[in-house]
């Protein structure tokens, strides 16, 4: 069993398909949704972890792609802009998973670990420098 994180983008026409249902039922996958914005007749986004056998995940993803959904393994819904970050460390207390962390104690430089980010968006609200933004 492995777990992979995916960023799905739904074009306007495809937001009414019960995609998660089919992933669970037909491909025996465990779904953990971090964040979703799927509104009928509008474009949509879904960020989730998929857990299952490598084969089942591959088949499930192939199925999603037949629905005209864009599947991306590298894109994240939360963006941290290194150039905008001033490393003030205000975010540290607001990030529940320590995805934003002090990478160098001597210089107090902040870094962002995408893998730890659960997209709670707390940093988006709390960063005075607008270094954290959400794709949707």
């Amino acid at each position: 069993m492995i777990t992979k994180k995916y960023f799905l983008y739904f074009p306007r026409s495809e937001t009414e398909k019960p995609l998660v249902y089919h992933l669970v039922k037909d491909y025996d996958l465990v779904i953990n949704i971090f964040r979703a914005k799927v509104t009928p007749d509008e474009e949509g986004y879904l960020i989730l972890d998929i857990t299952g056998t490598e084969e089942n995940i591959a088949q499930g993803i192939a199925y999603i792609k037949t629905l005209n959904v864009t599947v991306n393994e590298t894109v994240r819904g939360l963006r941290w802009d290194e150039d905008k970050c001033v490393s003030c460390t205000n975010c540290i207390v607001h990030c529940p998973t320590k995805a934003l962390y002090i990478a160098d104690q001597k210089t107090k430089r902040i870094a962002f670990d995408e893998e730890k980010c659960i997209e709670c968006l707390s940093c988006v609200k709390n960063c005075p420098f607008n270094a954290c933004t959400s794709v949707f």
Binding site: V93, T107, K108, K125, P128, F129
Partner: protein, 402 residues
């Protein structure tokens, strides 16, 4: 031991020995104060953080026909135009027109004066909208145009209060969130925020204002500006600890500099959820090592500098003057402090990372002979305390009878 002139001659001949306020600590430990005072010429200090009492005067030049602007907006942010015809003052905390502010609490405060200042320094285009009642000599009644900082005759940053000597650590003792200029403070003392560069901070390295005074040349976001006055709320009479370092706000500086020479990395608009907008600035100040006494003051370490922890849910807004305890910058920078037996996570709004970078940039400029030090033309006052505003109720008659 050394004079300003002697140090400047060494700087001009690119032979000055310059260390930042962090490096000097180890240097003196190794070499001893006597030798270090002879060898080292300048110690660089720096800070980077939100500084609300900042802004700039802009001059647009005259349009044809001329206008005497009486009301104006830059990217919809109101500016003060109660000065000459095409001069305005843009303040850092001015909110954009029509921003809902805290109407939908806590507000986002996406854009304001600080952001316009950032855009100007970055060389981006900004829209000017100005109105006037029209006069014989200034007949135009409206102006709407785009400009960049290069189109302006002058863009002079004029900041009534920067570089607070020390600052509060904010905490929230209540059971609901507090939204402040020190960020979001979670209920029940869950987090604390501080805002100082500690051992790198300019006035903590010159606690009695021996070298930093009116006329001192400073590195203001990349420009070579200067101290033009004591800062507003300058309040040097306060509790002081080790080496005369204040354990509360204390001194402040009023700074000015040419915005056209500033670097965008060190001028940043900021938005505080539920509070408002401001600007964050990077400032570096050189301390000339004139004698042992001045050098000794630059040796202050984070562990010897203390800041008051204040409850921003009650004591701060009600100006009670109460403090919960005092904590050192060493503890603050470590990331947790213990308040009334509880471990509290700490964040900062001042960037030590940027402050270090500025102290290095300034060091390099001095070493290259590009930044000369200047002797103050007047010292900052040492015998002053901040007064509060008295609220007087009643009619003018009552006041006359007081």
């Amino acid at each position: 031991m050394k004079t300003y002139d002697e140090i400047n001659k060494k700087i001009e001949s690119k032979k000055a020995v310059v260390l930042n306020a962090e490096e000097i600590i180890d240097y003196v430990e190794k070499k001893g104060i006597e030798t270090a005072a002879k060898e080292v010429d300048v110690v660089t200090t720096a800070t980077f953080g939100p500084m609300c009492s900042s802004g700039c005067f802009l001059n647009f030049g005259h349009s044809k026909p001329k206008i005497r602007i009486t009301e104006a907006w830059l990217d919809d942010v109101p500016v003060y135009s109660g000065v000459a015809a095409v001069d305005v003052f843009l303040g850092a905390t001015q909110l954009r027109y029509n921003d809902p502010a805290n109407m939908y609490y806590p507000g986002d405060f996406k854009f304001g004066g600080g952001h316009v200042i950032e855009k100007l320094v970055a060389g981006e285009s900004v829209q000017l909208f100005g109105l006037s009642y029209g006069t014989d000599d200034y007949p135009r009644k409206e102006v709407r145009t785009w400009f960049t900082i290069n189109d302006l005759n002058q863009a002079i940053m004029v900041n009534p209060r920067n570089c607070y000597q020390n600052y509060n650590v904010a905490i929230n003792c209540s059971d609901k969130p507090v939204y402040s200029y020190l960020g979001k403070l979670k209920p029940n003392m869950t987090n604390a925020t501080f805002c100082s560069a500690g051992q790198l901070s300019p006035l903590l390295n010159d606690p009695l204002y021996k070298t930093i005074g009116i006329g001192t040349r400073v590195w203001l976001a990349g420009a070579h500006g200067h101290v033009y006055a004591e800062g507003t709320q300058h309040s040097p009479v306060c509790e002081r600890g080790e080496n005369n370092v204040p354990t509360e706000g204390a001194g402040t500086l009023a700074l000015t500099g040419d915005m056209k020479r500033m670097k965008k990395e060190f001028v940043r608009g900021v938005s505080f959820i539920g509070y408002g907008v401001s600007v964050a600035l990077g400032i570096g100040i050189p301390i000339p090592v004139l004698n042992k006494d001045i050098l000794r003051h630059t040796l202050i370490k984070d562990r010897d500098i203390f800041a008051p922890v204040v409850d921003y849910s009650s004591d701060y807004p009600n100006a009670t003057g109460n403090i919960i305890t005092k904590v050192s910058y060493e503890e603050l920078r470590r990331g947790t402090i213990t308040i009334e037996g509880k471990e509290v996570e700490v964040g900062s709004l001042s960037s030590y990372n940027k402050a270090l970078k500025i102290s290095e940039i300034l060091k390099d400029e001095i070493k290259r002979g590009d930044f000369l030090i200047s002797q103050p033309i007047q010292s900052l006052q040492l015998d002053k305390q901040m007064t509060s505003l008295k609220i007087i109720n009643g009619t003018k008659q009552d006041i006359n009878n007081l």
